[in-house]
Symmetry: D2
Subunit: 139 residues, 4 copies
């Protein structure tokens, strides 16, 4: 069982990141995996209805972050140190994105995860990303 439930993750986001918490919905969490949906709004789009690169990056980042918090508890200070992202297909126009993330390493100071992102309703991956988080020492 994870240390934080979906409800706890949503409550944490609303408190710690009020500007963006409405953009993301955790759909499933557990067993070092998490699925997060990005609720696509006009502001995430580029001309033609394509979801912007920074929005896709934001989803990858949030998915690993929440997957990590689910395991270690609410450490708002965990910070991204590296992200490598491949943009592979054009997302479907004006459609939510879904991130399937997994934690591959959960160390004392570093955590590593990777994520596949696809448009809701189409399993072909739009992007893949791997991210490293630095975990602050317990005080």
């Amino acid at each position: 069982m994870t240390k934080m439930t979906i409800e706890a993750l949503h409550a944490f986001m609303a408190e710690a990141f009020p500007q963006v918490s409405g953009d993301f919905t955790v759909e499933e969490v557990g067993d070092l995996r998490i699925r997060v949906r990005m609720n696509i709004e006009e502001r995430h789009l580029r001309p033609g209805g394509t979801v912007s690169g920074p929005s896709i990056f934001a989803l990858a980042d949030v998915a690993i972050y929440l997957g990590l918090l689910a395991e270690i508890g609410p450490e708002a200070l965990a910070v991204t140190t590296n992200c490598s992202i491949d943009f592979m297909r054009k997302p479907a126009a004006a459609t939510d994105l879904v991130a399937e993330a997994r934690l591959l390493k959960l160390g004392r100071v570093l955590a590593v995860g990777d994520v596949l992102i696809h448009s809701a309703g189409d399993p072909s991956p739009v992007a893949r990303a791997s991210l490293t988080y630095s975990i602050p020492p317990k005080r």
Copy 2:
């Protein structure tokens, strides 16, 4: 000399990416290099005044994109295929960011560049990134 001047790059951005063009100012361009400033607004910040990761990513992406356009002309369809980014220091609170980018490869189908980003007034790098762009065939 580049194919596009600073004025031409600004005009292109305003036309092709009206939602975000106001966020970026090209300060210098030429010789496979470009300097782009991100005009930080409330919406780019996280609690505590830190510039968000997706905003830093957006700056890296735009800087290489505009550096590429300056060389090859306005190809709005050039697309990012890969980005690797390291977040190294906390940006100064509520301060503009400056990206110094250079093109390392300008091939027929792929372009590669890297970029160092720092807070205005402090040369210590906040982030570094390398990006690959796919260049569509001429029609």
Copy 3:
């Protein structure tokens, strides 16, 4: 069905890359996936028996390359353009490594895959990597 069988992949490697073909054994291929074993020898090790970083990189690179060839046929000229690799755990001393790779994109000019690498007999991932290959135009 793939265009190349395990036997065909081994024959191709022995012909095209005689210096290293003995290091690798394809164990399974199909459905955009491949499993490749690295037969660890003294020359792959560092003091203490750890498999070296360049050897782990070589395995990741070969696994995606062979997975790609299996799909498109023997294009010896496909070249790696990008690799992002995370080293997550120390490999078991003097033990073969196993790479589980999958192709995520198989485009006209670019292919993208990722790979998890573990020591034989221990499923914990030692490394993960994602790679992009550039596919030369058909002549």
Copy 4:
């Protein structure tokens, strides 16, 4: 001034990594920068005389590692946690490679550097790479 001179770096390599120390020559070090030459031998080549990808990776890795050691002293346990590498041009056949590396961050637990690699006698970059090293706590 750095904590280790070129001579000290060479002596450290010969002691800690006897299998590969002969492959590398430090040409210059200081001011968070280092230049390392890879002495290309038959075993680094692929058919046609091209330097292999794993060899280029090895040079990038060693250059940042030695640049880091020069600053912090001989910590043989510093380990690579991430590398992102772009292969941009074919190296000149059977020619030494030169890496120009710089440290961008030298933190308490993580160091980040990047490196440009070119064939000796031709300044066009063959590859660029960025690497993160984890620094073990002092005992």
